[in-house]
Symmetry: C2
Subunit: 79 residues, 2 copies
Amino acid sequence: MKAIVTVMLKQGVLDPQGRAIGQALHGLGFATVGEVRAGKVIEIDLAETDAEAARAQAEAMARKLLANSVIERFEIALA
Amino acid sequence: MKAIVTVMLKQGVLDPQGRAIGQALHGLGFATVGEVRAGKVIEIDLAETDAEAARAQAEAMARKLLANSVIERFEIALA
């Protein structure tokens, strides 16, 4: 099955990439745009059929490698 | 409302970042890991209450700025 790990900067952590995107969108005329936050998403194919085991593995991967828990939070979805 | 735009490389486009993550996960002992694809996610606060209008705006933003349609595909979710 596939684990989809989404990693975002924690609320309160300055996000210069998101801010740059927001300014670019304003420059293109999208006046309704407010705060923009940028993050990353990692899709991982797992040779694992049990959903609970897959989620536990993806969480371990996020903690060990994919996210920096000091400044980032992560979410896991299975597909 | 909030639009969440997820941008991934199209299937068939080489993804060196995803491959590097996959190799790092294997190196950490996650032996069940298969293909890994890396992408980006952009959360946009919109001063727009109509869901259809918000989706249309987010799609226009993705086409104009957020995604390179030659090599990337995007998905839009509203929250």
